[in-house]
Symmetry: C2
Subunit: 384 residues, 2 copies
Amino acid sequence: MNIGLLGYGTVGGGVDRILREDPALKVTRVLSLFSTEEMASRYTDRAEDILKDPAIDTVVEVLGGIHPAYEWISEAMRAGKNVVTANKAVVAACYRELVSLSREMNVSFRCTAAAGGGIPWLTSLERVKKNDRVEAVFGVMNGSCNYILSEMEKGGSFGAALKNAQALGFAERDPSADVDGPDTLRKLMISSCIAFNGYIAEDEIPCRGIRTVRTEDLAFLKEKGLKLKLFAYAAEKDGKVAAAVEPAAFPEGSALAGITKNLNLIGCRLQYGGTLTFTGEGAGRYPTAENVVRDLRDVAAFRPAFYADGLQPLHVDNTALKRIYYVRTSAEDPFLEKITAEKDGAYIKTLPVSVPEMHAFLSSLEADGTPVFAAAVPEEEAYA
Amino acid sequence: MNIGLLGYGTVGGGVDRILREDPALKVTRVLSLFSTEEMASRYTDRAEDILKDPAIDTVVEVLGGIHPAYEWISEAMRAGKNVVTANKAVVAACYRELVSLSREMNVSFRCTAAAGGGIPWLTSLERVKKNDRVEAVFGVMNGSCNYILSEMEKGGSFGAALKNAQALGFAERDPSADVDGPDTLRKLMISSCIAFNGYIAEDEIPCRGIRTVRTEDLAFLKEKGLKLKLFAYAAEKDGKVAAAVEPAAFPEGSALAGITKNLNLIGCRLQYGGTLTFTGEGAGRYPTAENVVRDLRDVAAFRPAFYADGLQPLHVDNTALKRIYYVRTSAEDPFLEKITAEKDGAYIKTLPVSVPEMHAFLSSLEADGTPVFAAAVPEEEAYA
C-alpha cells in the first residue's frame, strides 16, 4: 500500500512514526506547511502531488476542519483512492456526500479514530449491528471535558482546569469545540448515523457544553452522590431519534461516574445482545494514530466500505425525551416555577421536563446574560 | 455460505434463529441428538453428513467439551471448511493443534464467542495488537460467578445464589467449571495466547475459584470499601508471563467493582495506546449466538485467519507477581505468621506475597480440610 499523508501534526506524525518500520504500508508522500528532516524527499506543499499521483492508492487525511479536507477527500475518492481520516468535523459535516461518493467509487472510507480516539468503537459498532438492532448509543465522548470536570472535582476552577488540560495537550488552544459540545455532538452524530443506518443532521440535536459549570456545582452534586459528565445520548425507535448532548449527573459507583481523567466511555444498547460499553483514551497522539493505522491495515487486508450505507434522513424528535434537572440560577421565571419539584439551597430540582424545552429556556436566560447551570439526571435505561 | 451446525442447544438454536431470514448465510444441515420441527429436513444424527458434505463450506461447532469437538473441528478443517466455534474448552485444550491446522489448511478459524460471550473482545484485541504491544489482559470473565457474588452481597448464601443463577440459566447444572475457575482460566489463556502471540499452557496458570466465599467475607470487604470479583490477569514482559485467576477485591468506584449481575469486563493495557476495556453480557443465548453469527459474516466477507499465529511456548513465571491478601482461616501456621501484616477480627491482612506461594499454602490447608478464604488486593496497575 502506498499512502499519501495529508497533514503532519500530532496524529499525522504519529501515523508516520508507527509505519516507519512497516514494509507493507509505505507513506510515500507527505503534505505539510513546512518540511522536516523526517519527511525527507517525501515532502510536498502541493496536495495535487498526492491526489494526482497514480502510485498512491490510499490517502490519510489528518488536517482537521472542513475545508479543504472535504474537497481533497472527494478528489482522492474520485481518483479511486481509499481514504482514512481522523477528522470528525468533515465526516459529520459532509457525511452524506462522502459516504455516497465512497460507495459510488467503490473505495474504502474509514474514520475509526474520529469517534473514540483509540477505542475500537466504530469497528465494533459496525460488527455488532449486522445482526441486531441498535436501540441506543451513549457515552462520555470528549476527553478534554472529562479531564476538566475531574480536575474541578478536586476543587479547581473551570479556568484553571482548562489551562491544565491545554498544557497537557488534552484541549486545543481554542477550546470551544470541546467545552461547548460540538466535538461530542459530531461523535454522537457519526455514531448514530452508523448505528441507526440513516442520516441525522447535526443541528437537529440539542447540545450544551460545560462552560458554565462551577466548582460549587460539582460539590453540590457530590453531596447527592452524583458526578457530572458531558453526556451524549441517542436512541432510535420506529424511525424517530431522541438525542441530546448535555451535562448530566450519574450516581457514584456507576460506570459513567467512574470515567475519570481524559478517558472516554462509549456504549450501545442492542435489542437482543444487551448493552456493550467500551473505554479508553479518547484522544492523544498514539491512541488516535493507532486507530488510523488499524484502519489502514483493514483497508490493506479486506478493503472494507464505510461502516453503514443508509443515507435516508432520520429526524430528531425529542418530545418523549424528558429528564429531571438540577438548575442553579438567580432568575425567577414562570417556566422555572412550573417545573420546580423542590428547592435545595441555591439549586432547583425540576420535574421531568422535555430536553429541548429545557435547552431553549436555558439559552433564553443566557441570551439575557443571566448565569445558569443545569445538570440533567438521565434515567438509568439511558446508559445501562 | 452453506453452514453445517454441530449442536443445537442454547447457542446453536440461537444461531439458527438469527440466520433464519438470511439468504446469504444458510444453515443447510443440523447435527443434534434429536430432531425438532425447526430443523425439518436439515436434521441429521451423523456428523459425517456435515463433515463429508462438499456443499458445506463452513462448520459451526457449539457442542461444548473437548471430544468429539476436537476431532470434528479437525476433520472439517482438513476438508477445507472454515470453522466457527463458541467452545472455549476445546480451543483452550487444543489451541496449538487447531491454530496450526487452520493455517496449514488455509481456512478461517474463529471463536469470538468463546471469550466474553457477546463482547467484541477477541476481534478488538486482534485489531489493536497489530500495531502496539499488549502488556496485559485482565478482567472479570465469568458471568455466573459475578452474578453469584452480586447476589451474595445482598446477603444470600453461596448455595442460594448458585441456585438462583442456575434457575436463570446463568450457571450450568454442574457449576464447577464456573465457580472453581476453569472457565475463567480458559478465557484468560485464549486471550493471553492471542495478546502475546504465543502458547501458554493452561496448567501453568494458578487458578482458584469462589466456592469458599461466605456472605460474611463480602460484608467484611464492604467495610473496607472493597468488592470481591473472580479476577483474571496476565502480563507479558521479555517473553515471560505473569498470570493468575483468583478472587480479588477492588475499591468501590473502580470499574471492576462496578461490574455487577452477569456482566463481564475485559480489558487490555497497550504499550502506547493506553488501557482499553470492554463490558457486556458474557453469556446467554443471544449475546453468544450473535458473536458466532458475526464471526460467520466476517468469514463470508473476508475469510480472516485465526486471531494470532504465534505458537512458540511462553512460560508462566509468577515470581514477581506479589499481592496483598485478606485471609480468613482458623489455622495457625508458621507461613501465615511470617506473612501477616495485621490481624483484623477473623481476618489476616498479609504482606505482599507471591501468588503461587499463596495458592500452594491455601491448597495445603484445604487438603487438610481446613476452611479458608483469601481475597487478593491487586495493585491498581493490574487493572487500569
